[in-house]
Structure formats: structure tokens, C-alpha cells
Subunit: 418 residues, 2 copies
């Protein structure tokens, strides 16, 4: 894509009311637009990163048999009253609205109730279970404060997966499968080393749930990490020595870390099935409530975390798999001959399946290089009069700053690690 067609412009300053580093960088680099605190639109660069993350999540969730559905934001109060989560005293971050006839509606902050209610039309027998459904869907959460950029949105895209199993054993087995799928996801988006499987409270239906917590000073959470076992316990559980033991940890091995929760997984038991009346007939024809699990990853929060963890003083540093483009192509002089050569490289790379952002703007080389660093595409290729004469082009690695010289044909064939 040519930068002249990109719609967004980079900028030197983020809006004054934006205090989070993730949103500051993403706004300055032209990935997102701030509508209000906690509410961000996506510019074309942002759409590209979201699409890449969604693709990774989709692949890993479908590898554990997740089937895609899409539920609605508008929520009927009745199904939430059934589980006692309608009242604002019980759930303090509802956005609510009204139909013309004055009937109340909610905007979904999660979808356990909706999916359980929906499945009453589709689950009758043990033959229908287990089943696993997931969606990428916009959640609305009426946060009192929202100062962490896209780490805590009032409106945000979430991948939520729900499992329904015949027995608790079947559910627990699937829970571990999803934990593994999550590990793969965080690995692929570049957060593997800094993301820790963390014991958290299980609520009323199971002893523990688990969070995936990523180390960053921008996080709002605190965990206690056993760096050898690579397992952590969250702050709430850490208070009680019993919990530390039950998690198989010892207090003396634990180090305090500031983190952000990038994923969570819950065993929900039969709570929602009972509340909504979702039953199946077992092999003997007896009615049973299925065992349920729910598993969430906030897509925006994940991207915000990647920006917090991987950026440097010059700008964003995207990991290869989620970068909006593979290569940032820059011309040093805005001359006919240089543009022509760059155009050939652009076409050659595209023909080899490499996604290129081609800076064809009529601005100074210095400004272009600043934008290369700010936008954070892993590799850049510089075309100049000299490089054309010498037949060698500069390839720069955004992360390491390392420069290598590559001949024209290696470049157009994408013959460099991207």
C-alpha cells in the first residue's frame, strides 16, 4: 500500500488528555483515533493489526475445535435476571438503554447468559456435547475511569469462547487444552516470555480460575511469580498462605511483578446452565445440566500490551506475525529514477506475497525515517541514488537497528528474513 493512500497521518504529539503510552504511540503512529476516554476507532493500520491478531486467535481456537458464532450487543434483561446479574448492585459496569416502549435493554459486557440461553434450542442429548463456540464481539463496559488507553476500554473487541461438557472431567480436560491454546497465542504475538499462567480465585463454583498475566509497568495488576516453575498467583490469592500451597507454590520462591491480564479462563460448573435451564439427556435418558467453561482474550488489550512491552523510545516495534505490513519501503530522494526503481521493488515484493508499505510522500528523508521507527514495521528497505548505482539496497531491522546490504533480486524475491 502506498502511504499517500493510507488515510492516517503520523503526528508528533498525542492528544493532551491521553496519558497512556500504548494509546499515545498508537495515535501518533496513526493506528487508532480517540473518540473519548476508553473508546477508540481503528484507522487502516489498526484494522490490519486487528485482522492479524484475529487470524492467530482464530487458528488456535479452531485447533481446539472452537466453532465461530456471533452474538448481539443488545441484551434482554430476563436472561440476566435469571442468573442474578442484571441489577447494577450486582454488576457495576452495565451500559443500559431503552426501547421506544420504555423496556430496558443491556449492552453485553460478557455473554455467558446469552450463549447458555441460545443453546436451549440446540442441545437436547449427550450426543450434542461437548460443544465449543467462540466469537469476536464488541463488549461494552461502563468503567468509572478509563485511563489506560486500549488496555481498559469502555467498548472493545473480545474473543470469547464457551465450552459445554457432559461431565466435570470432560470440562477440566478441555480447560487445559484451552490453556495450551492461549500459550500458543501469546507466543505467536510476541508476549510468550513475559506472560505467566496465574492462579486466580475460581468464584463460587471452582477453587481456582486462571489468568494470563503479562509483565509491564503499565499493568494494573500485581502477581507473585515463581520464575523457575513459570507459574504465578495473583494478589488476591497471595494474601492467604493456604492458596499458595494449593497452587503448588511456596511463598519464598515468589517475586512480585506488575502485570496486565491478557487472558482468563474459568470453570463455571453448572451455574449458568441451572440459571437459564439448559439441560441434556444423558446416556440413560436422565436430565443433566452441562458443565461450562468460559475463556476470554480482549483483542484491543492484547495489542495495547504488545505496544507497552515491545516498543522503544522511537516508537512501536511489531512482532513479525502481527505487523500491519512486512516491509516499509522508503525512497531517499524524491527523484524520478529513484521512484521508478522503488516502484519495481514494490511490485516485486508484492508479487512474492510480501506486504509492503511504500512511502511515496513528497517529504524529507528524515521525516520518513522517523515514521519508519514510529510505525514499527519489522524491516525497512531504503532506495537511494547510490543504492541504485551500487545495485545494493539497505535493509534495516527495526528491533535491532542492524543494517544489511542486499542486491535488487534478493530484495524483490523477499530473500531476507521478514
Amino acid at each position: 500500500m502506498k502511504m499517500s493512500k493510507l488515510v492516517s497521518k503520523t503526528r508528533k504529539e498525542a492528544p493532551k488528555d491521553e496519558t497512556s503510552r500504548n494509546a499515545q504511540l498508537l495515535i501518533r503512529a496513526g493506528f487508532i483515533h480517540k473518540e473519548m476516554a476508553g473508546v477508540y476507532s481503528l484507522l487502516p493500520l489498526g484494522v490490519k493489526v486487528f485482522d492479524k491478531i484475529k487470524k492467530i486467535i482464530k487458528e488456535e481456537i479452531e485447533a481446539v475445535d472452537g466453532v465461530e458464532i456471533s452474538m448481539t450487543a443488545l441484551q434482554n434483561p430476563e436472561i440476566w435476571k435469571a442468573s442474578d446479574r442484571w441489577d447494577d448492585e450486582k454488576v457495576d459496569n452495565w451500559f443500559k438503554t431503552k426501547l421506544k416502549n420504555d423496556a430496558d435493554l443491556g449492552l453485553g459486557f460478557t455473554h455467558e447468559e446469552s450463549i447458555t440461553n441460545m443453546l436451549k434450542d440446540h442441545v437436547n442429548s449427550y450426543k450434542d456435547l461437548p460443544l465449543y463456540v467462540y466469537q469476536f464481539q464488541t463488549k461494552f463496559r461502563n468503567e468509572l475511569r478509563s485511563k489506560s488507553g486500549i488496555l481498559r476500554g469502555r467498548e472493545f473487541l473480545m474473543k470469547d469462547l464457551y465450552s459445554f461438557c457432559k461431565t466435570e472431567e470432560e470440562q477440566l480436560k478441555y480447560y487445559d487444552l484451552v490453556a495450551d491454546a492461549y500459550r500458543k497465542i501469546f507466543q505467536r504475538v510476541g508476549l510468550g516470555e513475559k506472560t505467566h499462567y496465574t492462579f486466580a480465585s475460581g468464584g463460587s463454583f471452582s477453587k481456582f480460575s486462571h489468568e494470563f498475566q503479562t509483565e509491564t509497568e503499565a499493568g494494573e495488576d500485581t502477581i507473585y511469580l515463581d520464575t523457575k516453575k513459570k507459574i504465578a498467583i495473583n494478589k488476591e490469592l497471595f494474601e492467604d498462605e493456604e492458596n499458595i500451597k494449593a497452587a503448588g507454590l511456596e511463598k519464598k520462591d515468589l517475586v512480585e511483578k506488575r502485570t496486565v491480564e491478557v487472558g482468563n479462563i474459568f470453570n463455571l460448573g453448572q451455574k449458568y446452565a441451572e440459571a437459564e435451564g439448559l439441560k441434556f439427556k444423558d446416556v440413560e435418558g436422565k436430565e443433566q445440566f452441562p458443565f461450562m467453561g468460559s475463556y476470554g482474550i480482549g483483542v484491543g488489550r492484547l495489542i495495547g500490551t504488545i505496544v507497552e512491552v515491545l516498543s522503544d523510545e522511537k516508537g512501536i516495534v511489531w512482532p513479525k506475525e502481527i505487523s500491519p505490513f512486512d516491509v516499509h519501503l522508503v525512497i531517499l530522494q524524491n527523484d524520478e529514477s529513484v521512484i521508478e526503481e522503488a516502484q519495481k521493488i514494490y511490485e516485486g515484493l508484492k508479487a512474492n506475497g510480501i506486504e509492503v508499505l511504500f512511502d511515496d510522500r513528497d517529504i524529507s528523508a528524515g521525516e520518513k525515517f522517523k515514521d519508519v521507527d514510529l510505525i514499527g514495521i519489522p524491516k525497512s528497505v531504503v532506495v537511494s541514488k547510490r543504492s541504485i548505482e551500487e545495485g545494493n539496497f539497505e535493509v534495516k531491522d527495526r528491533k535491532t537497528g542492524e543494517m544489511t546490504q542486499k542486491p535488487f533480486f534478493d530484495i524483490v524475491e523477499g530473500d531476507f528474513t521478514i
Copy 2:
């Protein structure tokens, strides 16, 4: 995909409160779930059809240089007050909600104001124009009544495209390009013959806008069609003979048709740019307001229209390009040998890039054939003991009912028109 993993079940009856044929069929066949009037979730089959339609729209909109963005549902009242569209007296289908501090928010029913406001950060010069941005985004419209299934949703996915041009001439040229892109879209989804370019009121900034109106008794609109010119005029304009002439039509050539509006395109002049204060510097450095156009297709409404127009008494009939699967594979007897042969065909088709829904359920052949007709995949392949013996398999066309016999290898290689 195996039907045992499809999550949804077909059903004989739609919910009693569902009176529209499109939603009745889509619910019975397991594509959608009714949350409440005008609010429908998507089951896996529904997600597949939505994805295929989105792919077609994306291809045609990107072919006219549309660049994808994604704006938010939550709307800041200020930008709507600027254009005088915040007041419920002015716009009667807002859903509104509140932040914790009691500040009002809207849920976007369209996005002219948001995109115009956003571009103030990204448009400065004539060099930045023209630009074309589009999104697939959920709109919320607080309809007083919602009885037409997915033809008129209170929450629905819309493709909206916005253009910003330097001059009126540039804008009018792009308007015609989008009209052509829309014709291609309606052609590809199977509605080409029944969809008519229709003159509609242009509002205060241009004489006409245009609607794409599809003939169906389920529609809420009336148009007057010149069947030779293949151009129509809507009811509002038809009242005034002047308009008919201005549209290049003659009253005596016009036939009344019941229709549903599947797309619309507007020239908006400088109205929103003026309201929001979006300016650019022209070649002479003088500040100007850009000319704007907006172009919408409701994805759910489009699917509902396809179901209304193309279904028959047995169920849905999907056009090839948007069917959730290419082939519905059915086994006549639930025998080991038949299942094994069907499995080979299943794998063979998949290996040849053909998407297959394999009915592996342990139910009667009669029930399976009913579901083949209800779900509406263009081709079905039947595997039976006899077909295995004879080495010939029955391929049935959902639309025409035509049966052809094909040998095993032709089938697994997908060597039949799908």
C-alpha cells in the same frame, strides 16, 4: 464440517412471534437465533454466510479504492449536536445510554459525523484527497416496530463507505463508480436481475440520491420501474411529475413494484464537513470544505432479501458464491461401509478446496433430505450401498432438483459445477 459439530439444529417450527419468512427460514435452518424482535445472533452457518457476503463486498469496495477502518458504536453527543442530529425530535431512532458520571452517549445509527470529525486529524491538504474509507460495523436503530426479521434490525451489521473529494465534480464521478460497484455486488449475491437503480430524494444538498431496490413481496417500499430502461423512481418522488421527468422517465412507462431497499448512495455536499469543521488547503492555499458521499449496504438485510427472493416452499436456495458450504454430503444408510466411502469423498472434496457439510448424524434418510432442502446448499451428493456398488453417486442440484450420476473420482475431484 460434520453436522454433528455444527452446534445448530434444524427445527420444524420457527418461534410463534416470528412472522417474517426470512427469519422463519433462517431460524428453522439453524443460521440465526432470535434474541428479541429485530435482534438476531448468528449461529455457525450464519457466520459463514455473513463472511462470504463480506468478502464479496470487500472485494468490490476495495476495487474502487475503499480503505477499511472501524469506528465505534459509542458516540459523543457533541459531534452530533454540531450537525443537529442529536435531538430525538430530529432523529427518532437513537439508542442512548449514559456514562457513570451521567454524561449522555449515543449508539451510532450511522457514522457521517464520526468519520468527518476523525478526519480533522488526518486531512490538511488537497494532496490528502480524494479519500475513501469503509467499514463493516454494527449499527443500532431504535425502531418502533421490528416485524420484518433481518430486513429491519434494531442491531445490524452495515457496510458503510464514505468519500471525501476536493470538488463536486470529483465526488459525482466517484458516486457513479460506487453505483457500478454496487451493481456488481448485487449481481454476485444473486439479486442482479431483481434489483433496480432507483431515484430517491437527495435531501437538502443534492436533487437526487439513489437506492438499490430489490423486488419482493416482503419489502416495505414501493417503486415505479421502467422495465426497459431498468431504472426506477421511489414513491416519494413519484408523487411529483417534475421529478419523474428530471429522472429521465415517463409516467406511462412505469410499473409499480413492491421492494426492499438493499443499498443506498448519497451525495452529501459539504454539509457534514461544514458542521464538523473539516477543511483542506487547495492548490492555492485557500481553505475549502471537501465534498462528501456516503454509501450503505445492510449485510443482514441483504441476506434476508436473498432468502425472501430465492427460497422455495422447501427451504432456502443459496446462490453459489454465498452458500455456507459448496456441497452437502449425505449418507443413505448409517452403515460402516457407507460411512467409510462417504468419508473418502469428504476428504477428497476438501483436498480439492471444496467446502463440504457432511451429514454424519444417526437419523433417518428422510430427515436428512428435508434438511438438505431447508439449509439450501447448491449441490448435494448422496452415498448409498447401491451407489457404492455401481460406482456412481447422485449429485442433486438444490435449485432445479436435477439429478446427475457421477463416478467416485469425478466427485472427489469436484468435477461437477458447484
